[in-house]
Amino acid sequence: MPASEGSPDSSSSSRKSSKKPKYSRFSQQELPAYKPILTPQWVITVFVFIGIVFIPVGLASLSAANQVEEISERYDDKCGPQTNNTCERKITVKKKMKNPIYVYYQLDKFYQNHRRYVKSRNDLQLRQTSRGREQAGCDPISNTANPIVPCGLIAWSLFNDTYKFSVKDKDINVDKKDIAWKSDKDYKFGSQVYPKNFQKGEGGIGGGKLNESLPLSEQEDLIVWMRTAALPTFRKLYGKITVDLEVNDVVTVKIQNNYNTYKYGGQKLLVLSTTSWMGGKNHFLGRAYLTLGAISLFIAGCFIVLYIIKPRPLGDPAYLSWNRYPGGGI
């Protein structure tokens, strides 16, 4: 309705124009846009591309996994069921293992990822001497009167089996240096922090003890252990063997069987493994890549076949709903 509102003063006209939306491509939703369309060419290209990329990667991963030599030896049953004993296991090397050979211990049914367990630590006291009295979160392995360093369940249940290797009665040195992350040693575990009141009766004796004269930053076994594993079955690095093992070498392992897995019925394994560029012996990744690549190629094939049988010219108006269902309906 053109009825004039109020008196037509000059300000009203300027007010009018100020209400006018300003034109910009943004405000009018007209920004230049890339509007990709899944044309059959694109679809085929994409799937074939995935296939072409994934299959070589899969093959490479598989060959990497195949290069890896791995020996694992379960010893809890042979050495148990008592703890604090020594036993000896002999392992035959089936294929040549080039150094470095990594030594792992593997536990199962051990819930290092249990919420209560994961939380039971205090990072502050591990780092700075001045925070040595911090016991927060370490329950039940904590003591405010005589602060425990390191406190908490994780440290308390430190794995403490030890292995000694020899081939043909010649001892093989196990290098236990640099098995932990460098950043952990440098920043998380203080070089001035020494174990205190550790395993001194609070909740009984759990796992391993620590050398009180070494700073935490040098207790690499502890540092490795404190990196809680994601799953109840896990391996942790014990050390490195820096000599090659030849085929048919018999490695004698003297195991100090300390760690109690008998209570909860878990296994203990000793694992010797070399690595490739992608780590340990892991076939899954390669297979997954191969499968996915194959599926992609298969889809591409299906698509091509279907498209030959039932082609649809792009932008063919015959496919518009009003042409397909003249009676209405989409």
Binding site: L31, Y117, L231, G280
Partner: protein
């Protein structure tokens, strides 16, 4: 002011026979008995001071429509927020996160909630602030009030008190409900426009009491006092009970002395009144209902999904807590490294209790299934969408300077799903302006201008002609028939074809003339005095005289142009006067007894002022449907000049007066078909004696007292208005707003149904129906109205049965109709509707209405509008949209799923109650077809994606938990999870919700059929939702298990390190970020730099975050210290995994959409392709053909009309060839 006083000398009451004559008050009728509850109000006129203390202290004239005030905002808004179930859940989770059962840091629970709630509250506050500003605009309007001592001054509305005397000037709104004391007219009459209250556009007459008439200048209020005792505030607009005590006398008051707030003073220079009801006590505010908070259907469906997710959440939580209890009971005693805990959280001896605690933990942990950011994201997206709607330059009206406005943003997507539009007429479809456009005088049709409908129809036809592909099947296509049509022009066919031909020629000449408001006539035969050379010049002269004399308007000298403007009760009347003026019969003066017309005589070219003595005026009522004046011209001859509805006039013609009946009738039919409002004009010459006899009787009846006075007057005037001589007919265009027919046509093509609900009378409504092409010739009209004969008997039951019968018969007729092209129109009037809306009949009515192509309800009250809306909404279960401009539409606007107000006109009530406001009806097309379509798709896709994303993420938590002995440990760092919803995945989805376009706005408008994707809910049906949930489930499985198997026990680097929880978690999280962001990239089909930035930016942000997080002190980052830099970054396995998993996650979806698009494409896919390959440019004929075919098969709109008239032509051609009769009667129906 000067001429105002002069004019005020006219006693308006003498212009009317019935309406305004003060009926002699029955002296026996005393003052109202005012006592008891409900009648306690006492108003001391002119003594507002007395009303400043209790108990007479009434509310001030301050109004407020805000939801909150400063104090109540916080509690109320918080309460509002926590009415959402999800928010309550998150609040509980946040509280519980402060206890030891929490799996997360408290901050990671509290901060998102605070953010979400805070943002929503901020939005509420902003919207309320806007309402407050609008209220204050009204509250601060100025009104002239009596200060005392006869001095008046301005004061803002909100300061006005009960008892104040206010003076309201012409075209001002009444600030409060007033008791009318006196006006500028001597006899205390004033005219009021109540459009804001009831939508009626005609002016209403109010009368002051005789006793208060002397109070008509400022000084007279020096010593005026009086007391009013009246009813308490109530919402009833049409009743008022009260007494005025003045000088120890008691006078009864009735509604005609009450001037209601928000109505407007018209045609009266000023009135005085006493304030009785202020602010929220006033009737209009009592009528105002709190606007209901509306939620869109998608949101309601979303709630259901949230409930499903809640069920899932509870389900997996129970599983997890049972698992936990079992583990704790059976295995935990053996776990020496995890000694039991006294706090019962981990206590094998109280495993059940531990299990219960764990249930709480799990409920919090899996909270990620419920996307907390969903609400806030949706809210943010909707606000941004609303911003785009507000900013749309195509919905900005230059004339009034109003842009479109989304007043509530939570219904944007509903705009894309509308099924039925219910529209008001006046002010919405029409501009309430009449243009004189054609006339038929003495059997000849004059007037070459085409109405807007015709112009638009011509354009449409021209376009169709181009668009037709000759080879296209359906051999006897439009092209052929139209060619035939165009070849055989005038000679053999009737005027209907001439009309088609006329309108096909562009009208270039028209624009050169200055536009005269109310006059759009063009025909040189009778313009500029040429009429005198026409045959029947004397009749033409008489025709013009009737136009100039037979009315109740008042001329007003326009100082600027020097010409006269007219103040008439209805815009038609004004159009007649303007037409008469343009023809050279300028009505210039009205005295008590005469009308003066300046006639410009064509032969002499000089202007003669002629006087016509008005002897009697038989005025217009809706019952009589005619108006007559009896005049004596300068030669002393007496004429009765009459104008009225054609059917009425035709019944009253004398035998000799029917010469032009047939021709006029034909013209009237054409005019009617073109949507013009027609009136027939007739006259009668009276003998002196004959008149005198009648006049005496009439005078006697007029002054008589008694109940049957009206009846006698009616009979007498009926007697006089007989044996008329028909001169011709007028056709006035009820000017449609710009683009209305086109818009209706487009919307009809988009598959929308259209109902018109109007307060106007049936004839007008039908005219508009024709004008908007809701009706057309050949459409079967079903008129349901309350039968007057039965009404007289006053038997409700009979009436009801009668209406039921009408409905049943009509339904039968519709059912039995075989012709697929047959279309029905239902026209129902308010009285019948009242019965049809009763509980036992409404389903029948609705069934019938749904089967009709168009429905027009006339003479409906505001309440009925709302009821009809509710009936449609609830009866069909579809989404309804109501559009209107006046306060009478408020009910319907609030009742409908979406209410749209027309802004830019004066009344703001409709806009205030609406969800969206637009300045012009035609913007509705863009609002629905473009913004609605986009918003619907955006929101639907966005919500689906949200659920996908959160299921994909949330379930990985559950799987992992199962591996941790159900202890509630999460594999991810708390900060990852916190950022997941707030930063890392929320921005892309917002960009999807704000910027996604399947096709450009242009294409949306070209292919209205695309709109149907919304009402059919193709993008948010359960099939899709379940599909997305399945996709989420699949992705979660892939993400989790592939990662777990890869990182199971083997070293993940060549340096032999095995992965700890942090490494696994981070890798998994990286996979999730990639997977969900690639997924959204696959959903999007429109990438501006913003989308690219936000999607890929999110991924990059994740790496940046990871890097920076690794840099800060390990005290905060824990095991994630330097994780990217030292542990994961150098490991090829990490990168290979994060490539493998997202590809594996998205491969099925990609395959699905590829196959779907290739073999079963949806409309927008095909159109995207056409646009992509620029086929529309190369193959223009195909494009045009598709454009024309994309229209839904419609039965309304002018496309349908063109189709129908072509069908008719075809039929006629065939008939003609077979019978070879040259002339075929045009009359159809």
């Amino acid at each position: 002011m000067a001429h105002g006083r002069v004019r005020a000398k006219v006693r308006r009451s003498s212009l009317y026979t019935f309406g305004c004559v003060r009926p002699p008050r029955d002296e026996a009728e005393g003052p109202h008995q005012i006592q008891g509850p409900g009648y306690s109000r006492i108003v001391y006129c002119n003594q507002p001071r007395l009303h400043q203390r209790k108990p007479l202290k009434y509310s001030y004239n301050y109004i407020s429509t805000t939801k909150y005030n400063v104090i109540t905002f916080i509690p109320k808004a918080i309460f509002e927020q926590f009415r959402r179930v999800a928010n309550v859940y998150f609040l509980l989770a946040a509280i519980l996160s402060l206890t030891p059962v929490t799996p997360f840091l408290p901050v990671s629970m509290i901060s998102p909630l605070a953010f979400v709630v805070g943002l929503s509250m901020a939005k509420e506050a902003m919207e309320d602030w806007r309402r407050f500003v609008q209220d204050m605009k009204v509250n601060l309007r100025k009104a002239i009030t009596h200060k005392g001592n006869g001095e008046f001054s301005c004061k803002p509305w909100l300061k006005i008190q009960v008892g104040d005397v206010v003076k309201v000037e012409k075209d001002q709104f009444f600030p409060a409900d007033l008791f009318f004391l006196s006006s500028s007219y001597e006899d205390g009459i004033c005219y009021v426009e109540t459009m804001n209250l009831d939508g009626e556009t005609n002016l209403k007459v109010k009368r002051a009491l005789e006793v208060t008439l002397p109070l008509n200048d400022d000084d007279s209020f020096k010593n005026f006092t009086g007391t009013i005792r009246c009813e308490d505030p109530n919402p009833n607009l049409y009743t008022f009970v009260g007494n005025l005590e003045l000088n120890n006398q008691v006078y009864p008051l009735d509604p005609s002395q009450i001037l209601l707030r928000d109505s407007k003073l018209r045609n009266t220079s000023y009135v005085y009144g006493v304030v009785i009801f202020t602010g929220h006590d006033s009737k209009v505010m009592q009528n105002a209902t709190k606007s209901p908070s509306k939620r869109s259907r998608i949101e309601k469906q979303m709630d259901k999904i949230i409930y499903i997710l809640f069920t899932l959440l509870v389900f997996i939580s129970v599983i997890s807590s049972i698992g936990f209890a079992v583990k704790t009971k059976d295995q935990m005693p053996d776990w020496w490294y995890l000694p039991p805990d006294d706090g019962h959280l981990y206590d094998p001896s109280h495993a059940n209790l531990s299990g219960f605690y764990h249930l709480i933990t799990a409920l919090i942990l899996y909270g990620y299934l419920i996307p907390i950011s969903l609400y806030v994201s949706i809210e943010l997206v909707k606000v941004l969408q609303a911003k785009f709607i507000n900013k749309d330059i195509h919905m900005y009206d230059e004339e009034t300077g109003t842009p479109a406005q989304a007043r509530t943003s939570n219904l944007n997507e509903e705009l894309g799903q509308v099924d039925t539009i219910l529209s008001d007429k006046t002010g919405t479809l029409t501009c309430n302006q009449m243009d004189f456009i054609k006339c038929s005088i003495a059997g000849t049709a004059y007037g070459l201008s085409a109405s807007e409908v015709e112009v638009a129809a011509a354009k449409q036809m021209a376009m169709d002609l181009d668009g037709q592909d000759p080879e296209f099947p359906g051999n006897f296509s439009r092209r052929n028939s139209t060619e035939v049509l165009l070849k055989n022009k005038r000679p053999s066919f009737g005027p209907s074809e001439i009309e088609l031909e006329n309108i096909s020629t562009p009208m270039g000449v028209k624009h050169q003339k200055p536009v005269i408001k109310g006059f759009n006539f063009e025909d040189n035969r009778i313009m500029n005095g040429n009429w005198s050379r026409e045959p029947f010049a004397d009749l033409i002269l008489l025709f013009f005289r009737i136009l100039a004399v037979c009315h109740t308007a008042i001329p007003e000298l326009n100082d600027e142009t020097g010409g006269y403007d007219y103040e008439a009760e209805s815009p038609d009347e004004r159009a007649f006067l303007v037409a008469a003026r343009e023809f050279g019969f300028e009505y210039c003066k009205r005295s008590q007894t005469s009308i003066y017309v300046r006639e410009c005589h064509p032969s002499s070219r000089e202007i003669v002022e002629r006087e016509f003595k008005i002897l009697n005026l038989l005025d217009f009522t809706s019952k009589r449907k005619r108006m007559s004046v009896i005049v004596r011209d300068e030669n002393g001859k007496i004429f009765l000049l009459c104008k009225g509805a054609d059917s009425i006039i035709f019944d009253r013609l004398s035998k000799s007066g029917r010469i032009f009946e047939e021709a006029t009738m034909k013209h009237l039919n054409e005019y009617g078909e073109a949507g013009l409002r027609t009136l027939a004009l007739a006259y009668k010459k009276l003998e002196e004696a004959e008149y005198t006899a009648w006049s005496e009787e009439f005078l006697k009846a007029k002054t008589s007292i008694g109940g049957d006075r009206e009846l006698i007057l009616d009979k007498l005037s009926d007697m006089m208005e007989r044996d008329l001589f028909l001169i011709g007919a007028t056709a006035v265009e009820d000017k449609l707003q710009k683009g209305v027919p086109q818009c209706i046509d487009k919307l009809a093509q988009a598959g929308l149904k259209f109902w018109v609900l109007t307060g106007d009378k049936m004839e007008t409504a039908i005219n508009i129906g024709y004008a908007c092409s809701l009706l057309r010739q050949g459409m079967r009209q079903i008129c349901i109205s309350a039968n007057i004969d039965i009404m007289a008997q006053d038997s409700k039951k009979l009436l009801k049965e009668n209406i039921l019968m009408q409905i049943t018969v009509a339904s039968q007729m519709v059912k039995l109709e075989k012709d697929p092209h047959a279309a029905f129109a239902l026209i129902i009037d308010g009285k019948a509707l009242a019965y049809a809306l009763e509980n036992d009949m409404k389903t029948h009515f609705l069934k019938l209405a749904v089967n009709c192509a168009s429905v027009i309800c006339c003479r409906v009250s505001p309440k009925q509008k709302a009821l009809v809306t509710r009936l449609v909404k609830e009866g069909t279960g579809k989404i309804t949209l109501a559009i209107g401009d006046g306060a009478n539409d408020v009910g319907m606007i609030q009742e409908a799923d979406i209410g749209i107000g027309i802004s830019g006109v004066e009344g703001m009530q409709a806009v205030m109650a609406s969800d969206f406001s637009i300045a012009q009806f035609r913007f509705l097309e863009r609002l629905l077809v473009v913004h609605g379509h986009w918003c619907y798709k955006r929101i639907a896709q966005m919500i689906c994606y949200f659920f996908y994303k959160n299921i994909a993420f949330g379930l990985t938590l559950f799987y992992f938990e199962a591996f941790t002995g159900f202890s509630g440990q999460s594999v991810y760092d708390d900060w990852y999870m916190l950022l997941f919803n707030v930063v890392l995945t929320s921005w892309p989805v917002i960009s999807l919700g704000v910027f996604e376009q399947d096709v450009s706005s242009e294409v949306c408008l070209q292919f209205p059929a695309l709109y149907q994707q919304g009402p059919k809910n193709l993008f948010f049906d359960w099939y899709r939702i379940i599909g997305w949930m399945g996709n989420g489930l699949y992705s979660s499985l892939v993400i989790f298990f592939v990662n777990i198997i890869i990182f199971y026990d083997q070293a993940f680097r060549s340096e032999g390190q095995t992965a700890d929880m942090a490494a696994v978690g981070t890798t998994m999280f990286t996979c999730i970020i990639w997977a969900v962001n690639c997924q959204i990239a696959l959903i999007m089909s429109h990438f501006t730099w913003i989308q690219h930035f936000l999607v890929w930016g999110s991924v990059v942000t994740w790496y940046i975050f990871l890097f920076l997080y690794g840099l800060i002190s390990p005290v905060y980052s824990g095991n994630d210290f330097k994780i990217l830099e030292e542990a994961l970054g150098p490991a090829p396995l990490y990168w290979l995994t994060t490539l493998l998993v997202p590809v594996a996650c998205n491969l099925p979806y990609l395959a699905h959409i590829s196959f779907q698009r290739a073999f079963n494409p949806m409309d927008h896919h095909v159109i995207q392709e056409i646009k992509y390959y620029k086929k529309d440019k190369e193959d223009r004929s195909m494009w045009r053909r598709e454009l024309s075919k994309a229209r839904q098969e419609t039965k309304i709109g002018f496309s349908a009309r063109v189709d129908a008239s072509i069908r008719q032509l075809k039929l006629r051609l065939q008939r003609r060839y077979s019978s070879s009769t040259p002339r075929i009667s045009m009359s159809l129906t």
